[in-house]
């Protein structure tokens, strides 16, 4: 009845949804990070051995994140999941060995140049900032990125990880 229409609020408009792919080497903290964002426990996390699709809700949007395992046997298949992505989250372990950081840098650059990802916004997270061996903001951005693409750097409030944004 029209009385009901006038008096009852309609359902809120649905939040926009975006498809995002989340990559990074094994142990960088992808699964933990996504669980944290969903307010889930992070104590029983085991390495992802395939894909893990998670809907991460934010106030103004929902990110449908396709997180991909970072082990060697899995990362060779990463590009099979790039199609349809609207953004990329790349997670780095700021405290990893020089060798591992080199591998991460290579993978990051491959992703940055991949035809299905090169026009998309990238969010690069230098994780594990709380570890004593963690490299600083300058070191991570200078070493890992070293690119002419525009980017901006900001620190998270918790200082657990810094956020490097590509604008």
């Amino acid at each position: 009845s029209c009385f009901k229409t006038l008096c009852c609020k309609g359902p809120p408009p649905p939040r926009p949804e975006y498809d995002v792919v989340c990559i990074g080497l094994t142990g960088s903290g992808k699964t933990s990070l996504l669980s944290r964002l969903c307010n889930e426990a992070t104590d029983n996390i085991i390495p992802t051995t395939g894909f893990s699709i998670k809907a991460v809700p934010f106030q103004n949007a929902i990110l449908n994140v396709k997180e991909l395992g970072g082990a060697d046997s899995i990362k060779k298949y990463w590009s099979r999941y790039y199609q349809g992505s609207q953004g990329v989250v790349f997670v780095l372990d700021s405290a990893s060995s020089e060798e591992d950081l080199e591998v991460a840098r290579t993978e990051l650059h491959l992703a940055l140049q991949h035809p299905q990802l090169c026009t998309l916004p990238f969010l690069i997270l230098a994780n594990h900032q709380d570890k004593p061996a963690a490299r600083s903001v300058q070191e991570v951005t200078q070493y890992s990125l070293n690119t002419s693409l525009p980017y901006s750097v900001s620190h998270s409030v918790a200082k657990k990880f810094l956020v490097v944004l590509f604008v």
Binding site: G50, F51, S52, Y81
Partner: protein
């Protein structure tokens, strides 16, 4: 999803693809699950569900799941998930948020009064071939 409450957990995951064996699955060997909810469930707008499955040592080029929810003959909601490529020897999870359409008071009343007349069919396709068909039915008259 708004309250973050876990309603129920079903742990046994379906397996797609056997060790190097691509022969047909028995389409009649599906699973049947019966869900028993309270009437409050019908007023939920968003429910999160996680599907977990493992893949044998043969990669799958295209894995797709189509799920349809009915009350009697009326289609309530249809979901179509195209997982696409699945890595061999992988374990994969997908959490989906089901956004339920608003139901009229009349339909909700009928669904509560007639348990198990709300049903769903889940169809699983590997490379466009149906490999499994699961069915479920639902009641909404459960109570404390």
């Amino acid at each position: 999803m708004e309250t973050g409450m876990v309603l129920f957990e079903i742990t046994k995951p379906p397996t797609t693809g056997r060790q190097g064996d691509r022969t047909d699955f028995d389409q009649n060997a599906g699973r049947f699950v019966r869900y028993q909810f309270t009437s409050a469930f019908l007023r939920l707008r968003q429910v999160g569900a996680t599907v977990e499955f493992t893949v044998g040592d043969v990669p799958i080029n295209n894995f797709r799941m189509i799920e349809r929810h009915y009350f009697r003959e009326q289609l309530l909601k249809s979901f179509d998930f195209e997982f696409g490529f699945c890595i061999p020897s992988s374990k994969n999870t997908c959490e989906h948020i089901y956004e339920f359409p608003p139901l009229s008071e009349e339909i909700m009343r009928e669904m509560i009064l007639h348990p198990y007349e709300t049903q769903s069919d889940s169809f699983y396709f590997v490379d466009n071939k149906l490999v499994m068909h699961n069915k479920a039915d639902y009641s909404y008259n459960g109570g404390p």
